[in-house]
């Protein structure tokens, strides 16, 4: 069998505001626009990968929060209505997505072999979290690729960022091994923001961009520092500074997605492409692509 490969790895944040602002037919609320810098960033990401063939999308979402190990969606199809419990005024999305259960089970089994607590989620009544759906929609609005969906184990809360990272780095390694063994071409997505301190108020028109800014200068400095590491091929430094970044920027990296992504990509030392950066209710968000396909071709 041909060895599987990761063709791209991306940070693909999930604030529901982005789906709301695009007015897709699946979402009930209607917006006047907003957060264009990030939405156009997603457009650039999609264009960047438009000519790249791949079989599946693997995503880790911090809004499927599990406290006992890592879970995987384990049925071939999910559909229903996802209402964001925090921003129900913005996100009431009718979803319909397919799961690559074979690949999900392969990663699950590889993780179990490595001693990680894992479980397949096979309850048909389960509602897919809005983080997965938002990232899924913005990355692939046609929904024409099957997904593998991993939960976010909350080991940062239970132990520390260091322990979380140890687990996520191992999960990344087994994810990579399982993908390579599958013979499939895969895109890997970490669905998370960078700095993550929200405003606790909302303007009367949620998409009023005159009200949007980073919560604090310190958050901006951290976001730029991390993005600079990405743009200059210094992924290892991101992992090294993850505890400080997560604590001081209240970063959504606490959910493990970023550590897992970088590990799955084998801690890339080549530059990532920044497709967009913007704030959403004060949080810092970047759309970033590691073009693994180009890097491997260049190495060949």
């Amino acid at each position: 069998m041909v060895k599987g490969k990761i063709v791209a790895g991306c940070i693909a944040p999930h604030p529901p505001h982005l789906v709301y602002a695009e007015n897709p037919p699946q979402n009930e609320p209607v917006a006047e626009g907003g957060w264009e810098q990030l939405r156009w960033g997603y457009e650039r990401l999609r264009a960047s990968l438009a000519d790249i063939e791949y079989d599946a999308i693997v995503v880790l979402s911090p809004h499927w929060q599990t406290y006992i190990g890592t879970h995987f969606l384990g049925l071939p199809h999910f559909e229903g209505l996802s209402v964001d419990p925090i921003f129900p005024n913005l996100f009431r999305y009718h979803y319909d997505l397919n799961i690559d259960v074979e690949l999900a089970k392969a990663i699950h089994d590889e993780a179990a072999s490595a001693g990680l607590p894992v479980k397949m989620m096979e309850n048909p009544d389960f509602r897919v979290d809005y983080g997965t759906i938002t990232t899924g929609h913005l990355f692939n609005p046609e929904w024409d690729k099957p997904m593998v969906v991993l939960s976010s184990n909350r080991s940062t809360a239970y132990y520390s960022v260091e322990v979380m990272q140890e687990i996520m780095i191992e999960l990344g390694r087994v994810t990579r091994r399982a993908i390579e063994a599958s013979g499939k071409r895969v895109v890997v997505l970490a669905s998370n923001s960078l700095s993550h301190r929200h405003f606790t108020t909302e303007s009367e028109v949620p998409e009023d961009m005159s009200k949007e800014h980073i919560t604090s200068h310190a958050m901006h400095l951290w976001d730029m520092r991390i993005i600079d590491y990405m743009r200059t091929g210094q992924a290892q430094r991101i992992l090294d500074e993850m505890p400080e970044f997560t604590e001081q920027a209240i970063a959504e990296s606490d959910g493990g997605g970023l550590s897992w992504l970088l590990s799955t990509l084998d801690v890339p030392d080549y530059p990532a492409i920044l497709h967009g950066y913007g704030t959403i209710i004060g949080t810092g968000n970047a759309v970033v692509e590691w073009p693994c396909h180009a890097h491997e071709e260049a190495d060949a």
Partner: protein, 472 residues
């Protein structure tokens, strides 16, 4: 109409085991039995409203209140999905939800109702309502747990809820859906292997339950931050449901508590506790955090921040109040009388000044020393939008502040000889002010002049200018 009240309170666990799998573990079954006992107690209390504060419904934009009159869906837990699904169809008191939302905003909170088909009711609320109100006979209301809310915000949330309970004459039961220690095992276990995660968690849980059994709810509330540090994973900041539940019970320590069950659920501490408002005489507060009536937290983050003139070396120290003008240290001059027991001035003047055998007070309003809070509420918000307020509460607070200054001067209230009162809304407020006057200064008998004016420097409705004769 009789004034409403909280007729009972309950602490209940959040995980779905008590609904879906009580037969798999004796402890889960005991929790389920305790739920059934609690449901029977609620019936016997003749309650007409269940109010749930759920830790498994986090919010960011203030607090959210469920207002769909009949939310229906199927709930599957994110972790325990293999236990099965819980179908729900609840009876939500939409009118109460809206009234609470209004009351929240009157007390300075960010708040909104949510009424959307398919809204995912959280696991804690689903478990509580499924087991405590199985036939949906009692209308309920559910409020979220704001992830950034502190003690003051959470306390005010309860007080605004009480405003509506009293106004509507309701017989309410307050429920917190929460774990005690919330540390679960991080690996999968068999039901028969379940136990409290660690000895330390168990010891702290027992300590909390001992307090609750003694009816010392406010003590548990004031231990909240310590408990959070000791036995809680950071799902929410602080052990905040106890702040809310204590405020719903008047921040008391003399309640009557009963622990109906305490058992592990995948390592977390699950307890069903009943709290009866009947005084038990258990004791007073051991701690004494500030009480708060109105939330004045930072809410202007969306607004452009103006540059503040920092002033030169000679500028007097001015402390920025949460709203309104800056606060000044009282001026010291010959004969001046100042006290920490009165609110700080809003300009360069003393609280009072002695001249001969006369004491002249600067204008005194209802602001509280230390917190600058306004009993009875401010008359408008930070944007100048009018708010409902209680003139009687404000007038009582003014008289109390006058008393503190007079006593600081070594005098007493019966030496007050002349009062000039300023009201910003004579038509609305004269009667309430006059009633309080009759109960207080009116019994002493100073001369009085009452004037209507356009505004006062802070958002208050009443201020008094007082002259005292100190005797020969």
């Amino acid at each position: 109409m009789t004034e409403g009240s909280v007729v009972g309170s309950f602490v209940v666990p959040v995980h779905p085991h008590t609904v879906l799998a009580p037969d798999q573990n004796e402890g889960w079954q005991r929790l389920r039995d305790a739920f059934d006992t609690a449901a029977q107690t609620i019936k016997e209390l003749d309650a007409d409203l269940l109010v749930i504060y759920s830790t498994t419904w986090p919010s960011i934009i203030g607090h959210q209140i469920q207002s769909d009159p009949n939310p229906e869906w199927v709930m599957v837990d994110h972790d325990f999905h293999d236990l099965g699904s819980i179908e729900y169809s609840f009876n939500i008191d939409q009118d109460f939800a809206h009234a609470w939302d209004d009351a929240n905003r009157k007390r300075g909170l960010q708040s909104r109702c949510v009424n959307y088909k398919g809204f995912p009711i959280d696991v804690g609320s689903v478990v509580a309502l499924t087991l405590l109100n199985p036939d949906n006979a009692i209308p309920a209301v559910i409020v979220s747990s704001n992830m950034y809310a502190n003690r003051s915000e959470t306390t005010v949330l309860a007080k605004s809820c009480l405003d509506v309970i009293k106004a509507q004459g309701r017989r309410a039961v307050a429920i917190t859906a929460m774990s005690l220690s919330n540390r679960m095992f991080t690996d999968f276990i068999k039901p028969e292997e379940d136990k409290i995660h660690s000895l330390k968690d168990d010891e702290w849980n027992l300590k909390i339950l001992e307090f609750l059994k003694q009816g010392r709810l406010e003590d548990v509330g004031q231990l909240s931050r310590t408990i959070q540090r000791q036995i809680r994973v950071q799902k929410v900041v602080a052990f905040k449901p106890m702040w809310w539940l204590s405020a719903m019970n008047g921040n008391r320590n003399d309640l009557t508590g009963q622990v109906l069950a305490y058992e592990p659920i995948h390592g977390a501490g699950g307890a069903v506790v009943s709290i009866d408002p009947t005084p038990s005489g258990a004791g007073d507060k051991e701690y004494d955090e500030d009480d708060i009536e109105y939330f004045h937290g930072e809410r202007g983050v969306l607004d452009t921040v103006d540059e503040i003139d920092e002033g030169g070396e000679e500028a007097p120290a001015v402390e920025q109040a949460s709203s309104g003008p800056g606060l000044w240290e009282p001026t010291e001059a010959e004969g001046s009388v100042n006290t920490d027991a009165a609110p700080k001035p809003v300009g360069a003047y003393p609280h009072a000044r002695k001249v001969g055998n006369m004491l002249f007070l600067s204008g005194v309003g209802p602001r509280q020393p230390g917190t600058n809070a306004i009993p009875g509420g401010p008359i408008h918000d930070e944007n100048g939008e009018p708010l409902d307020y209680d003139i009687e509460a404000q007038t009582h607070a003014v008289v109390n502040n006058v008393k503190r200054i007079v006593e600081e001067a070594g005098a007493s209230m019966d030496q007050v000889v002349d009062v000039t009162t300023f009201l910003v809304d004579m038509k609305r407020d004269f009667k309430g002010y006059n009633d309080v006057w009759a109960q207080t200064l009116g019994k002493i008998g100073p001369t009085r002049t009452t004037l209507a004016i356009d505004a006062l420097p802070t958002p208050i409705a009443v201020e008094m200018k007082v002259i005292v004769h100190l005797g020969e």
